[in-house]
């Protein structure tokens, strides 16, 4: 019993399916409350920035997306590694479900970064910005993972091979991030408005924290839904899935 029992129970697809189903409404509720509160606080209550005006308000979408892109990659690599080491199909299922979400959040971070860049830098895309560049590389890593998975017909092989790629990738993510950061400090162009670390006030910060929690819960909700779909797809030949489908359609 205890931890190992709990850990092994996660190898059972119906158990994980029910677990994800039970977690879904919690995540959804949490996301709803915090996103609405955070958006109200960020868009209405927080004062306009004295340098950037109302333009700064995009951080309430940009920062959570960028953070979730990173979180999704780490989550994907960790569960892929667990799946590889203990041969747990459900952990691979979680990694597969996290990958497209992470790619979308990273993409969202790039787009909102570009929209933010227009009033700040005068251009949508600034090659010299380290954060944009390392987000772009993260997006490529996600896409590489997805494309590699899709190239295998055999699901088990796809699981195990892509797990190795994810682990190699997660070791590389900080190296890529810091190399790009050093590179951009070397090539600091005159066009970049060198904004100091924004001394963010409490009434700006609290909505941001709310949005971070809300986005994470939203991610958790999507992840549970995707994981359920992934499990149904993987286990479609088993009796419990067919009974479940029959029960749902009846």
């Amino acid at each position: 019993m205890g931890f190992m029992h709990w850990f092994y129970s996660l190898a059972s697809p119906p158990h994980v399916y029910r677990l994800a189903g039970r977690a879904c409404p919690w995540f959804a509720g949490l996301a709803g409350v915090f996103l609405v509160a955070g958006a109200y606080g960020g868009l209405v209550l927080a004062p306009a920035d004295y340098l950037q005006g109302d333009g700064f308000r995009i951080i309430y979408v940009h920062v959570p997306s960028a953070y979730l892109g990173m979180l999704a990659y780490v989550l994907m690599a960790t569960s892929a590694a667990i799946g590889f080491i203990w041969r747990m199909k459900m952990a691979h299922g979680l990694a597969v479900s996290a990958a497209p979400l992470g790619a979308w959040f990273t993409f969202l971070a790039l787009v909102t970064g570009g929209i933010w860049g227009k009033p700040m830098w005068g251009t949508y895309w600034q090659w010299a910005d380290a954060r944009l560049m390392s987000e772009l590389m993260l997006l490529f890593l996600f896409l590489g993972y997805i494309v590699l998975r899709e190239s295998f017909d055999d699901r088990e092989k796809a699981d195990r091979i892509s797990a190795i790629l994810a682990v190699v990738g997660v070791i590389n993510v900080p190296i890529i991030h810091y190399s790009v950061e050093w590179w951009s400090t070397l090539h600091q162009g005159p066009t970049i408005a060198k904004l100091d670390e924004p001394s963010i006030t409490m009434d700006m910060l609290i909505p941001l924290l709310f949005m971070l929690i809300g986005f994470t819960a939203f991610f958790g909700w999507l992840l549970c839904k995707r994981l359920q779909g992934e499990i149904l797809n993987r286990e479609k030949r088993t009796r419990w899935v067919q009974e479940l489908i029959r029960g749902a359609s009846a």
Binding site: L148, K157, R160, I164, N172, I176, V180, W183, L186
Partner: protein, 221 residues
């Protein structure tokens, strides 16, 4: 004889018998580098500005091409299965294969790159740093490309995917390599970038073969 030396010797012999494949990746490197002046302008000042970048990008691309078939021919003729089944640790075998490939593709590149660098008007004083940076970078590139080759060994159109998988991971090599080159050209101290390249080389040579071996093992199952 130790398994490392045995595999190294075997792969070197095979490589020299198929010398056309060796020449391909080296020529690829030279051709990419010589396309840039055509695409841009051949003025000395401009060549000097982007010459370093051109050589580094050419080195990245040609390393991908050179290692594309690292495991494929062995996987196709069945000898890879024997290597996987052998009692020797697969990581050592993979390291030997990568070393053999580095000798036949990395070392010629090391010899040709300085000549190309001179043709891009890289100052003579900067040449030792450039050679040192390329010498540290080619093993990293070989290991990364080998991981890509191992991940895609059973896929039909492996080559293009390797680029997508591995080029983002080669970014640090590109950054530190061009940084060292640029520092040397401008008379700054390039040691920081060289040391970073050296630590990346140690990291990739010690861990990379294990990742590649894991991927080969899965692919052969």
């Amino acid at each position: 004889m130790h398994i490392f030396l045995l595999i190294l010797k075997r792969d070197l012999r095979l490589a020299f018998r198929r010398w056309n494949e060796l020449a391909t990746s080296l020529l690829f490197f030279i051709i990419i580098a010589s396309l840039f002046p055509l695409a841009s302008s051949p003025e000395i000042s401009q060549l000097r500005d982007y010459g370093g970048a051109v050589l580094w990008i050419s080195a990245l691309l040609s390393s991908l091409l050179a290692l594309d078939g690292l495991f494929r021919t062995d996987a196709e003729d069945g000898s890879m299965e024997q290597l996987v089944l052998s009692p020797a640790p697969l990581g050592v075998i993979v390291l030997a294969k990568i070393t053999a490939h580095w000798i036949v593709s990395g070392v010629p590149l090391l010899l040709v790159a300085p000549l190309l660098a001179l043709s891009f008007y890289l100052p003579l004083e900067a040449l030792p740093v450039f050679i040192a940076a390329i010498a540290l970078a080619t093993p990293i590139l070989s290991v990364l490309a080998a991981i890509g080759a191992a991940l895609t060994v059973t896929l039909r159109g492996g080559g293009a995917i390797i680029g997508l998988l591995m080029l983002p991971m080669m970014v640090p090599v590109l950054v530190f390599g061009t940084w060292a080159t640029e520092a040397a050209v401008q008379g700054d101290n390039p040691n920081g970038a060289l040391l970073l390249l050296a630590s990346l080389a140690i990291l990739s040579v010690s861990l990379g073969p294990l990742a590649a071996a894991g991927a080969v093992k899965v692919a052969m199952e």
